[in-house]
């Protein structure tokens, strides 16, 4: 089936949001599908708690819906704005709770079917958990910077806008975060890399 060119999935983010503000249900579905997976990944990595992350994603999208009729065309990038809102909500939650070591196996997605063997899949899962636990140990600003840069794959300029700091400060946070991560993971390196020698 061929889709018409003005079908919401062909529109850019801002045009889609404008369609949403006019009452287009498909635009709402497309915006949800477009943004929620990345917001979810970011919130989970920031909070290490799936339920809390879901609340943050829902609240972030709710604020987008409220904002839709007021959105200035050609203004801020929607994705950047969403990460900014989600960041504030995550940091609020991190500050409110006295957080322990809360990453669990349930927070990590199951390996896909393309995994070569069950053993390799478990090893990969183990490596993911190690990374997430290490990220969880970083100070919140370093965690935010490293997740946005290396997991969400955003540029330093965009991260600077999201975090409300300069680009040099972002670079410094990322460098410190990587040093800290490397130090934390070094303790488990032999264990995690042993499958690579085989």
């Amino acid at each position: 089936m061929q889709m018409p060119l003005d079908s919401p999935s062909y529109l850019d983010d801002q045009a889609l949001l404008a369609q949403f503000a006019k009452g287009d249900r498909d635009a709402a579905r497309n915006l949800t599908l477009r943004f929620t997976p990345r917001l979810m990944r970011y919130a989970i990595r920031m909070l290490s708690d799936r339920l809390e992350a879901e609340d943050v994603v829902q609240e972030t999208m709710l604020r987008l819906w409220h904002q839709a009729p007021l959105w200035q065309a050609g203004g801020a990038k929607i994705e950047t704005w969403l990460y900014q809102v989600a960041s504030h909500l995550c940091i609020d939650r991190l500050r409110k709770r006295k957080k322990g070591f809360s990453v669990s196996l349930n927070d990590i997605d199951e390996p896909g079917d393309e995994q070569p063997t069950a053993e390799a899949g478990l090893m990969e899962k183990d490596r993911q958990i190690a990374l997430y636990k290490a990220i969880d140990l970083l100070p919140e600003r370093q965690r935010q910077a490293i997740v946005l840069r290396h997991i969400e794959d955003l540029g330093n300029g965009e991260i600077a806008v999201i975090m409300g700091i300069g680009i040099e400060a972002v670079e410094s946070l990322i460098a410190r975060a990587k040093r800290n991560l490397a130090a934390i993971l070094a303790g488990r390196q032999d264990e995690l890399m042993k499958d690579e020698v085989h």
Binding site: M40, Q58, L131, H150, I151, L185
Partner: protein, 116 residues
Amino acid sequence: MRKANLDDFFAQARSQPPEVSFDLQSRILSDAFLMQDQWARKAAPINSSNLWFDVAKHFFAELGGAMSISSVLAAALSGMWVGFAPPAALADVFPAFLTTQKSDIFDLLPSDNEFQ
């Protein structure tokens, strides 16, 4: 740990975005549709030929709709009915309220005077 290893970790994390549950998507879409419905109601044009009808409709809707209005009307009619045709048991009580009768004066603390 080598930088290359750390980059492998990140690449692995990027390659597996978490699934968004159906429940979460439903909640988000429900918020979205609710918002669109609210905008649609606010934006509904008021037809000038039916202006009073539209104003009355909004007024009654603000008061709580048909159920609320019918309850208020029923209470008002009951009050009027009791006023015009009071039950026999209340027949002696009503004149006392409706006419100006001299009130009896009671001394609430009669023993007070004994000490004076």
